[in-house]
């Protein structure tokens, strides 16, 4: 591989990007304007006042004389300051209030809740002896923010209570446990930021497909083929230049979010890892861009066709996804952007460690998706249009 060629190709692509006003807007200015608009609308500007969500709780726990874990759980939720719990005696009334918009969620604490936690406390290392339960959660589908924000808060409070049990037995529950939950400082805008990183990067699909079809149309790709440049050098340069663009995009989104008040409780390693995740994700967008360029005959057609790949990623895999139907949320599992948003949410909002199983699983899935899509893109493009 000749580095002079790769470097020349990368520089050319970056110059092309920053000098084309349409591309410049789509790739760089749009994410900036987008973050500004959402930041202004959802709490970033004006001090970032925390929002409060009304959560209806139907407590069906039958703890009897044993420890009332459900009450501890409900109190811990209230102590987050972001959730205002309202206890209902029956599910029907709670569901009615949900449909009337009086509350944003209904949570059913199951009858075996305390029994479940007690069984865990008794034998924390023997799952076969645990009593498994699930907490049904009904969300206001009309509120994007509520659907995005409430589930991770409840999940986090639950996790804190369980972990506290494990560490502080025999008297595990303290009201202070709620203070471990960082969500009380978060605004609605904060919950959207992880998805914004993903959102911005997705537009690479349009840029890559447009660039390839334009270069094919004006004969410059053919002209490159007449030089000694190898297909490997050419594709390497494409990947590198688009990764640089993705990195700048992610930095701009982060900068704008920071200026709008986004202050996640994360260290420098987490930030670096988040940028790394966006870079890996950009490979799938380059791959989708190549697939689009294979199908499209003109740059105009490429713009239109790119929406086939762009829209599912936008709607199913970013902050929009949580407000969609259950089936749409299941479909989200089949787009790489879902896993990037999930990992970034875990890292930046839930305080998860880089090495946590969820984050590792997310990056493994994103990597597999991205490499597979990139390889398919390169093979298809090379088959129909020699590189």
């Amino acid at each position: 591989m000749n580095l002079q060629r790769v470097s020349a190709l990368v520089k050319k692509d970056i110059k092309k990007t920053v000098r084309d006003p349409a591309v410049l807007f789509m790739i760089f200015l749009f994410p900036v304007v987008f973050v500004l608009a959402f930041g202004a609308s959802f709490g970033g500007i004006g001090g970032g006042q925390p929002v409060t969500y009304q959560v209806g709780v139907v407590n069906m726990d039958q703890a009897g004389s044993s420890q009332q874990w459900s009450q501890v759980f409900i109190d811990a939720l209230s102590n987050t300051k972001i959730l205002n719990t309202q206890v209902y005696t029956d599910n029907q009334t709670a569901q009615y209030d949900l449909t009337q918009g009086k509350i944003q969620a209904v949570m059913l604490v199951p009858d075996a809740f305390s029994e479940s936690l007690t069984s865990y406390q008794t034998v924390p290392n023997d799952p076969s002896k645990w009593v498994n339960t699930s907490i049904p959660l009904y969300l206001d589908k009309g509120s994007i923010i509520a659907t995005q924000a409430i589930p991770p808060i409840i999940q986090q409070v639950l996790t804190v209570i369980i972990n506290q049990n494990q560490q502080m037995s025999p008297n595990p529950v303290h009201l202070e446990t709620a203070s471990l939950v960082e969500v009380k400082k978060l605004t609605a805008f904060d919950f959207m930021v992880p998805g914004m990183f993903t959102f911005a990067s997705i537009f690479l699909i349009m840029m890559v497909s447009g660039s390839f079809t334009e270069d094919r149309e004006n004969g410059t790709l053919r002209r490159i083929r007449i030089t000694p440049t190898s297909p490997t050098e050419f594709m390497t340069s494409q990947v590198l230049s688009n990764m640089v663009i993705a990195l700048v995009q992610a930095f701009l989104v982060f900068l704008m979010a920071y200026l709008m008040g986004f202050r996640p409780n994360a260290d420098i390693l987490v930030y670096l890892f988040a940028f790394f995740m966006v870079l890996i994700f950009s490979l799938s967008n380059i791959g989708f861009g190549l697939i689009t360029a294979t199908i499209a005959k003109t740059p105009g057609a490429a713009t239109g066709i790119s929406f086939i790949f762009l829209l599912p990623q936008l709607f199913l895999g970013t902050f929009v996804g949580a407000s969609l139907s259950t089936s749409a949320q299941i479909a989200g599992r089949f787009v790489p952007s879902y896993y990037v948003t999930d990992a970034l949410t875990s890292l930046l909002l839930r305080g998860a460690a880089i090495t946590s199983p969820l984050v590792m699983l997310d990056i493994a899935i994103v990597s597999m998706f991205s490499i597979a899509i990139l390889v398919i893109g390169v093979i298809l493009y090379a088959k129909y249009f020699r590189i």
């Binding site: 020349a8 190709l9 050319k12 053919r222 002209r223 000694p228």
Partner: protein
């Protein structure tokens, strides 16, 4: 005996039912300025595309600088410079950036690339506009940049596909002078054109192609003498019964 730069043997290219190049046989000597003449669609550009590896021949073989165009494409690409018929440049880059970009793809040393770029820009009167973006250039200026890109890496063999199409007479004559100079430097040049006066003015030998077949081969003077014609246009009329530029 002079060394052969390009050897074409029974070269054929078919696109489904259409035979674009039909059993072509031509030998071109090193340092020769060879003109490939014919109307639009005669097969000139297809022949050049096969010689520079852009198209796979259906039949036959060809070598450039002794390298097989099918099997030794990298070696062939290191020897050649191609000026395509349609201007193929990046509009968002400046003239100089376009030239240096393609020079870098030929892995030229930086100093040599800078020297060649400046020399060629000067030669084709583009020095003053070198740092303007191509999108601001006139059509003729773009074509001159198109030509410089093909030659910046000092190729041994230059394929110039209709290099003066759509140029004003002044620019055309400047390019002619430039091509003559390239020949003086010992470069092998294959020039395709449908301007007969251009071929007569510049070429040592010409091959006239029609419907993919080579119908005449020789120096302009020999062909004119042989067909008792006052110019190559008349030679073409005698061979085919029609004018070469009627089909443009």
């Amino acid at each position: 005996m002079k060394e052969t730069a390009i050897d074409i043997q029974n070269l054929t290219k078919k696109f489904e039912d259409v035979t674009a190049v039909d059993n072509l046989n031509i030998g071109i000597e090193k340092g020769e300025l060879f003109g490939l003449l014919g109307p639009n669609g005669a097969g000139k550009t297809t022949t050049i595309k096969m010689l520079c590896g852009l198209l796979e021949p259906t039949n036959g073989s060809a070598t450039v600088g002794g390298h097989d165009v099918r099997k030794e494409q990298t070696e062939v690409k290191e020897l050649i410079g191609v000026c395509p018929q349609d201007t193929a440049v990046y509009p968002h880059l400046t003239g100089r950036e376009n030239i240096e970009f393609f020079g870098n793809l030929h892995a030229m040393p930086k100093k040599k690339l800078r020297e060649n770029t400046n020399r060629l820009l000067e030669k084709l009167s583009l020095t003053q506009d070198a740092d303007r973006r191509l999108s601001k250039y006139s059509g003729g200026m773009k074509r001159r940049i198109n030509l410089i890109i093909a030659l910046v890496h000092d190729p041994e063999v230059a394929f110039l596909d209709e290099p003066t199409v759509a140029m004003d007479p002044q620019s055309r004559h400047a390019v002619w002078d430039f091509i003559r100079e390239l020949k003086k430097q010992g470069k092998t040049i294959i020039l395709t054109t449908h301007y007969m006066e251009e071929a007569e003015e510049l070429c040592d030998r010409v091959g006239i192609i029609d419907h993919g077949k080579l119908i005449a081969l020789g120096s302009p003077k020999n062909l004119k003498d042989k067909f008792k014609a006052k110019d190559l246009e008349e030679v073409f009329i005698q061979l085919t019964g029609r004018k070469i530029r009627e089909e443009i």
